[in-house]
């Protein structure tokens, strides 16, 4: 019989670097989950994405056991990596401090496809490009739909 789920926890943690400091420790600990077991599992499953911020959804069962799903990194994290900027723009709507190409937007959209509610990669690209502009990143080159 499937176990009864008593709740969920949503976190974003750097790959391979989960540890019991806040907010992970207090969030899991207050639900009676074994923090150290979560950290060990998360770090083992994400060691190939060391340091990259990864969303994780933990399902908590009524017997205090848990399992979790690791999702793809947020588009904003991938965009900052792609633009090799340490920080986004100080004034996103006015000052463009960095750029990404449409090819990079496509690569990010392809990574994000499993988690996005987008039927085609082009729709995912539009979402990613929207996030890039919000962050003050210019999308350079010609969009694939601009023939």
């Amino acid at each position: 019989m499937a176990k009864e789920i008593s709740g969920y926890l949503k976190l974003q943690i750097r790959g391979g670097q989960a540890n019991p400091s806040p907010p992970v420790g207090p969030a899991l600990g207050s639900k009676g989950l074994n923090i150290m077991e979560f950290c060990k599992q998360f770090n083992a499953r994400t060691q190939d994405k060391m340091g990259q911020v990864l969303p994780v959804v933990i399902s908590i069962y009524s017997d205090k056991s848990f399992d979790f799903v690791i999702k793809t990194p947020p588009a904003s994290v991938l965009l900052l990596e792609a633009s090799k900027l340490k920080k986004g723009s100080a004034e996103p709507n006015r000052l463009k401090v960095g750029s990404v190409t449409w090819d990079q937007v496509r690569s990010i959209a392809e990574i994000k496809m499993p988690d996005l509610n987008a039927p085609k990669v082009e729709s995912a690209m539009k979402m990613v490009a929207g996030t890039a502009r919000s962050m003050g990143l210019k999308v350079t080159g010609r969009a694939p739909w601009d023939k």
Partner: protein
């Protein structure tokens, strides 16, 4: 020393949440809790910079409303809820791991008393279970043992109970260091020394007949050469903390060393290997 954390609660929409998380992760924040109306982030007080935070919030305030409230919390044992409910565990009918508060009916040849206090190693996790299983089948009598990343100190305590002559355990985590000392006392052990720090702190003057490392794949691979140098000829290296799917990656790393795989075990998706250095 007890660490103090700055806890920041952000109230903002999801797009801003994702962007701020990406930005904060570049300035020292490593984990985030998603809440109903935004997210929570924290960082140790000595690394917190109010000016950088204000600039960051300012730079994205044109995208929508961002409110940030902050407070401070002291580090404590957040695992206490789980720890007060954990059940004793028996391994191979040979060894029981229990907390000081457990009253037990049945006697086992080896009893380990472990109060975990937010450190890793109670026997509940597959990797600790596998390590204990391997240790129970390995001769410890009069051996020198190194326990790398000792956590609660559970493997060191077992090594002493199995007759090891001298055990050195080390862990870079201060909580683990303190917790190991506490558990050594609880088990009345006298032949264990605990060092706070990484493997570099272990002197190269002595070698060990048995090295135990239940950490994770990346750390094991990084420290593999150090384990090899610290291992006596004919010595045994027992490794765990990695997944079955990572076995080949690990085995590729030992190809150039004069060391042979003598045993491998798995439990659920977790794995342990026992390696012997050539004489």
């Amino acid at each position: 020393m007890q660490r103090v954390y700055k806890v920041l609660s952000f109230f903002c929409d999801q797009i801003i949440t994702d962007i701020l998380i990406a930005e904060l992760s570049n300035i020292g924040f490593d984990s985030f809790l998603i809440t109903e109306n935004g997210f929570e982030a924290s960082i140790s007080l000595e690394h917190f910079d109010q000016k950088i935070l204000d600039e960051l919030i300012d730079s994205y305030s044109s995208l929508g409303s961002i409110t940030c409230r902050s407070n401070q919390i002291r580090e404590k044992n957040w695992n206490v809820e789980w720890e007060k409910n954990f059940q004793p565990i028996v391994i191979e009918d040979q060894c029981i791991v229990r907390a000081a508060f457990h009253k037990i009916k049945n006697k086992y040849p080896i009893e380990l008393i472990i109060n975990p206090k937010m450190s890793f190693g109670t026997g509940h996790h597959e990797t600790t279970y596998l390590m204990i299983q391997n240790q129970l089948n390995t001769d410890h009598e009069h051996k020198r043992v190194l326990d790398a990343g000792c956590g609660t100190g559970i493997l060191s305590v077992l090594a002493e109970k199995l007759g090891a002559e001298k055990i050195i355990g080390f862990d870079m985590d201060h909580w683990a260091y303190e917790n190991s000392l506490e558990n050594i006392n609880l088990n009345s052990c006298h032949r264990i020394e605990i060092v706070e720090g990484k493997i570099e702190k272990i002197s190269g003057q002595h070698t060990f007949d048995l090295i135990l490392a239940n950490i994770n794949l990346n750390v094991i691979i990084e420290d593999l050469n150090s384990y090899y140098k610290l291992l006596s000829p004919g010595g045994i290296l027992i490794l765990s903390g990695f997944l079955v799917s990572d076995l080949n990656t690990l085995l590729n790393c030992i190809e150039d060393l004069n060391i042979s795989l003598i045993e491998q075990n798995s439990r659920n998706k977790w794995m342990s290997v026992c390696l012997k250095k050539d004489k």
